[in-house]
């Protein structure tokens, strides 16, 4: 897939936005994640933090430690390096139990109909898809997951759902958003998990990182209820070499 050359813009006085595409593609997202990884592995002088979005990276620098010109030059050097790097296999894989349909996902039949599958087949397809964390945003720890097969290409709802609960699994445009707190949304709600992407009481309040791989595992509603009090809501993190 072709990727447009990255563009660098100022984002306020202490920030840079590196854009890898004006539309979401896995290639653009992978390049944003690769630069994020390169900056964390070898931070240039004045680096403060970086944050991937779907097809861009926000990089912040300390104005008292460097200048924009110097910082952008260091960024371009890492861009060249990270462009050549082979995509790395994700080193962290999450396994997350979830229940689908009924009270756990009232819009499952709608999603299935739009995807051209029975509800049962849709859940099977969903749980067989290797997903990854494209970005965290909208709310703390809230993951955008992708990318689902083409039959999941469906628009947002024209009318917002007034509130989906904590743990709601929702979809639009071949992506998944997993809510850590009750929220209104225009995405279709078809499943639920006891896993909380943001939990201030947890050792790691924000569990997921951009680039993490993720798979859902279907459980029945009563099993999910039993997992409500379990650490990470029953989710399991597999850390590779």
């Amino acid at each position: 897939m072709t990727v447009t050359p990255p563009q660098i813009f100022p984002l306020s006085l202490d920030g840079v936005l590196v854009r890898f595409g004006q539309a979401f593609t896995e290639a653009a997202n992978a390049r944003a994640l690769a630069l994020h990884g390169a900056l964390l592995a070898s931070p240039p002088k004045g680096f403060v933090e970086s944050a991937p979005a779907l097809a861009a990276l926000h990089v912040r620098f300390d104005r008292t430690a460097t200048t924009r010109a110097d910082f952008e030059a260091a960024l371009r050097a890492r861009l060249d390096q990270s462009a050549d790097a082979a995509p790395r296999a994700p080193s962290r894989i999450w396994h997350i139990p979830a229940a689908f349909g009924g009270e756990d996902g009232p819009q499952l039949d709608d999603v299935a109909a739009r995807a051209g599958l029975s509800a049962e087949r849709l859940v099977t397809q969903f749980c067989e898809t290797d997903l990854s964390v494209l970005a965290l945003g909208f709310a703390p720890g809230l993951p955008y997951l992708g990318t689902l097969p083409e039959n999941w290409q469906m628009p947002r709802l024209t009318e917002l759902t007034r509130e989906v609960p904590r743990g709601a699994i929702t979809t639009a445009i071949r992506q998944i958003v997993l809510f850590s707190a009750p929220s209104p949304t225009g995405w279709r709600w078809f499943g639920r998990t006891a896993f909380r992407p943001f939990d201030l009481q947890a050792d790691q309040p924000i569990a997921l990182r951009p680039g993490d791989a993720l798979r859902f595992h279907a459980v029945c509603d009563t099993d999910l209820t039993a997992l409500e009090g379990a650490p990470l809501g029953g989710a399991r993190l597999e850390v590779g070499a």
Binding site: F9, S12, E49, A56, R60, R63, P140
Partner: protein, 343 residues
């Protein structure tokens, strides 16, 4: 005698705020912190803090407060009517309050966010590395009557009481704007019209301030755009084509097109613009913006150089009382018994 601040009653949005938390952007959490960062720098200068400490931010209305020990405070940001046991206290100044007295802070006279800072800082347990409340994200909560907050030790309880010249950023005005990643999505004509328009402020909150406009502002194509990183100061055009300035507690990724970014030095004025006041925008180059925005440490140095002794008058009778409580009984035959504590 304990170092505490007790809230007897509070306006609708009184929260603990500091300079925010860095390092969480990748996790979807913006820096947050004080809506008017300059007000915390002013408080630090008035209280002799080496860096700004956590303080109470009061949106629109203060509340009634009392302290468990004599406490040096500073009042900064949007001027509010403040009284100690009925005696007026000067805004933009530090005061020494006696244990148990009631500090009453009323509505903002102009502006939006007033600050009540204490010399030792509010010492609530840090969450994710900072004390800043981000209620929209479930980090901390709005304070209410009955809440008691721990305070840090005053590193210099006998420090002179000080004041700063009146600030002028509470009635709207003109803010400077640099180009951002999406400015080019708007036509030259649209941008020219934007910079020629006087916008009435609508009601805002810590996430952003929406402005009114008779004519909407849209991108060249009008198409929806991919969500991208956003930051405080960004001016986004909402679905209705109205400008909204993102403030401290904004999200980290957003899908509304952004015409530019208010420079950090002018964000306090933007955040403090009350409903109905007028805001205008003026384009500046990056170099002009750099020159207009010294780092916060340099701003604090400049404020330290600008503080003046708070002259004693009727309004700080209780500050006098406070100094007596700290310094022990006064003999009454000193020429100026209050001078050591008050100047």
């Amino acid at each position: 005698m304990t170092l505490t601040l007790t809230i007897l009653s509070a306006g609708p949005s009184v929260t603990v705020q500091d300079m925010g938390r860095e390092g969480w952007l990748a996790a979807g959490l913006a820096r947050g912190g004080a809506a008017d960062r300059l007000a915390l720098l002013e408080a630090a200068a008035l209280l002799g803090q080496s860096t700004p400490q956590a303080a109470l931010e009061m949106a629109g209305f203060g509340g009634r407060f009392t302290f468990g020990a004599p406490t040096r405070i500073a009042l900064t940001g949007a001027p509010m009517r403040a009284t100690l046991e009925g005696e007026a206290l000067r805004w933009n100044a530090s005061h020494l309050l006696p244990e148990g007295a009631t500090l009453e802070i009323g509505p903002a006279e102009t502006g939006v966010y007033g600050y009540l800072a204490v010399a030792g800082g509010i010492a609530t347990p840090p969450l994710l590395g900072a004390r800043a409340t981000q209620a929209s994200a479930g980090i901390g909560h709005r304070l209410a009557g009955g809440d008691t907050l721990p305070l840090g030790d005053d590193p210099a309880p006998d420090a002179p009481l000080l004041t700063l010249p009146e600030a002028h950023r509470f009635k709207g005005g003109t803010v400077r704007v640099i180009e951002g990643p999406q400015s080019a999505y708007f036509s030259e004509d649209t941008r020219a019209r934007f910079f020629a328009t006087a916008f009435p402020a609508r009601a805002g909150n810590r996430q952003g301030l929406t402005l009114g406009s008779e004519e909407p502002f849209t991108t060249r194509t009008g198409e929806t755009i991919l969500s991208e990183p956003i930051t405080a100061g960004d001016i986004q055009m909402t679905g209705a084509g109205l400008p909204a300035i993102l403030l401290a507690e904004c999200q980290t990724i957003g899908g509304y097109p952004r015409i530019g970014t208010v420079i950090p030095a002018d964000l306090p004025l933007a955040a403090q613009t009350p409903q109905g006041a007028t805001l205008r925008f003026r384009p500046v180059t990056l170099a002009e913006a750099e020159a207009a925005c010294p780092p916060e440490a340099a701003q604090l140095d400049a404020l330290r150089a600008a503080v003046l002794p708070l002259r004693r008058s009727g309004y700080d009778t209780y500050a006098l009382l406070g100094s007596q409580l700290i310094g022990g009984a006064i003999r009454g035959d000193e020429e100026e018994p209050w001078r050591a504590g008050l100047i």
